[in-house]
Each structure stands twice: as structure tokens, then as C-alpha cells.
């Protein structure tokens, strides 16, 4: 059975929803550490005053890539048979590669700052692992609920 068809506006709203969340996170980051990190990264070009237009376009580009990965890996439009776990792992791997490319291309932090890379990899890996574990727990809990409900339904049917 095919995925319900999306139109171009669905894709656009998906990209902008992601963009909104990412920009929101960066706005908070800039507000909190903007002044201390001034000059360290292209994000903090204006201290805690603003995010630059260039940064906003970079984040929009990242949102576009996330949306493409999501539509390829987290729907069954292109890939029909694949477990949720593998899909999630591939999704987060693709996003990691995209972010690393953006870091290098747009100098999101100094390329040779080992500590920054370690910080980025550790925090991103933690977030990905957490997201995968949470989604797996939720999936298992929902499966258990459905199994119980199905057994109850069949039990009722037998009683009738």
C-alpha cells in the first residue's frame, strides 16, 4: 500500500516546520552564549544581537536536507521493507554527514578545534541515541497495547 500522496505545499510546510525548530534552538543558543562566543563561529557573528541572513539560509538548507532524508528514509514511498530501527539509524547517519559538511563548508566552528568536534559528535550522538531509544520504547509500548486490545477483541468475539 502506497504512502498517501503529498503535494508541493506539504513538502514546503515540512521544511519550514524543521527550519522553525532549528532556528528557535539557535536563537536560544545565540541569546545565551552569543557574546562569549563572538568571533568563534559564524553563528555568533553578531554576538547575542542576531542571527545573520547567511546563517538563516544555511539553516534553511539543512532543513531541506533533513526533510529530503526524512521523506526517503522515514516513509515507505521509496523504501518499502526496512525496520524502523535501521531507518532511524540511517536517517541520523545521513543528518550527521550533512551537518559535518555544513560545518566544513560554512565554518560553523574552527575545523581544527578537536574539542569542538568531540563536543559536537558526543552531543549529537547522544541526541540521536536518545531519539532512537525513545521511539523504540514508544513503538514497543504501542505494540503491546495493540496486542492486548486484539486479544481482548477476539475474546469478546468468542464470547458472543
Amino acid at each position: 500500500m502506497m504512502e498517501e500522496k503529498k503535494n508541493v505545499f506539504d513538502y514546503i510546510s515540512e521544511i519550514f516546520a524543521t527550519f522553525g525548530i532549528i532556528t528557535g534552538i539557535f536563537m536560544i543558543l545565540v541569546l545565551v552564549v552569543g557574546d562569549q562566543a563572538l568571533g568563534y563561529s559564524s553563528f555568533f557573528e553578531y554576538g547575542k544581537q542576531a542571527l545573520s541572513i547567511t546563517t538563516l539560509f544555511q539553516l534553511l538548507g539543512l532543513s531541506f536536507i533533513i526533510s529530503v532524508c526524512k521523506n526517503i528514509l522515514l516513509t515507505d514511498r521509496w523504501i518499502k521493507q526496512m525496520s524502523m530501527l535501521i531507518r532511524n539509524i540511517l536517517f541520523f547517519l545521513a543528518i550527521t554527514v550533512a551537518i559535518i559538511l555544513f560545518v566544513i563548508l560554512f565554518k560553523w566552528f574552527p575545523l581544527f578545534d578537536l574539542l569542538a568536534w568531540i563536543g559536537f559528535i558526543v552531543s549529537f550522538a547522544f541526541c540521536c541515541a536518545l531519539a532512537i531509544v525513545v521511539s523504540k520504547i514508544r513503538e514497543n509500548s504501542e505494540n503491546r497495547k495493540m496486542e492486548q486490545a486484539l486479544d481482548k477483541f477476539k475474546g469478546k468475539e468468542r464470547d458472543l
Binding site: M1, E4, T75, D76, M146, A149, L150, K152, E157
Partner: protein, 146 residues
């Protein structure tokens, strides 16, 4: 079309007589609908018409303009449209699971969440069928999860 209704105490059982020069698809559909009231449907396989008990149905699928009825061991073709099945089959057992299919819940072995809030149902014969996102909500409601 001429319809004659003859109610008389001399009859011991309900009977419907259909007279026509040919057995057309419309007549086949009328017969199928009447049969379904007795929980049986006439289905075809290899040009042979069989009366199939509704209880045996795993799921029903519409493919292009044809309707297929799946049981544990066989696949049959029916003259009925999917919406006619939906109207006539017992609501407590059968549920629409996509634009193309109706599922017999009593023949489901297990249910698992699938991608995009869909549900993957494994049937008693091991076959798997996907409940589309729209209808997955109806199924959750039917099972009392929502």
C-alpha cells in the same frame, strides 16, 4: 425491471426468484448481495462459482476494477464492489483498512506499528497487510486504544 412481491401464508420459507434472458454482471451482484444476508458470498475461481462462508474471509482487496477475496488457502474473484462488501459484512468483524481493502479482524494474528502511524497486520496464514494511516486511527478506536 419488473419486481413482483408475493406474500402468502402458503410459503414456508423466504424465496427470491430472478428471471432474466442472460446472467449479467448486474444479476450476479444482486445475487451476491442477497447471499451475503445468509453470511455467504458467491465467488469465482477458474470459472467455477463457489459459495464462500463470510467467516473464511481473511481480507478483500480491490485491484483496478476487480474485487478479490482472500481466504487462508485461496484467492477468489467477486462481482461485488468493495463498498458493497463494506455495507453488507458484519461491522463487528470487518473493518476498512485502506482505500483498496477490508480486513477480517478475527483473522488477525498480530498487530504492529509501522512507519508513519500505519499498522502492519499479520494474518493467520502469515501474510502481512498494511493498514493505511487514515484507517489505522479507526482501527485503534475500534480496538479501544484511542
Amino acid at each position: 425491471m419488473k419486481i413482483e412481491i408475493d406474500i402468502d401464508e402458503k410459503y414456508t420459507d423466504l424465496g427470491v426468484k430472478v428471471t432474466a434472458p442472460d446472467l449479467t454482471p448486474d444479476i450476479e451482484r444482486i445475487i451476491s448481495l442477497m447471499r451475503m444476508m445468509d453470511m455467504q458470498i458467491p465467488v469465482k475461481r477458474d470459472d467455477e462459482t463457489i459459495l464462500l462462508d463470510v467467516d473464511e474471509i481473511l481480507y478483500i482487496e480491490a485491484v483496478e476494477r476487480n474485487t478479490f477475496v482472500y481466504t487462508k488457502d485461496s484467492t477468489y474473484e467477486s462481482a461485488l464492489k468493495l463498498y458493497e462488501f463494506e455495507q453488507q459484512l458484519p461491522e463487528k468483524d470487518f473493518i476498512r483498512i485502506s482505500k483498496q481493502s477490508i480486513l477480517n479482524l478475527r483473522k488477525v494474528k498480530s498487530l504492529k506499528t509501522d512507519i508513519n502511524r500505519k499498522i502492519r497486520a499479520t494474518l493467520l496464514n502469515g501474510e502481512q497487510i498494511v493498514v493505511s494511516r487514515t484507517y489505522a486511527e479507526d482501527l485503534r478506536k475500534r480496538l479501544g486504544i484511542k
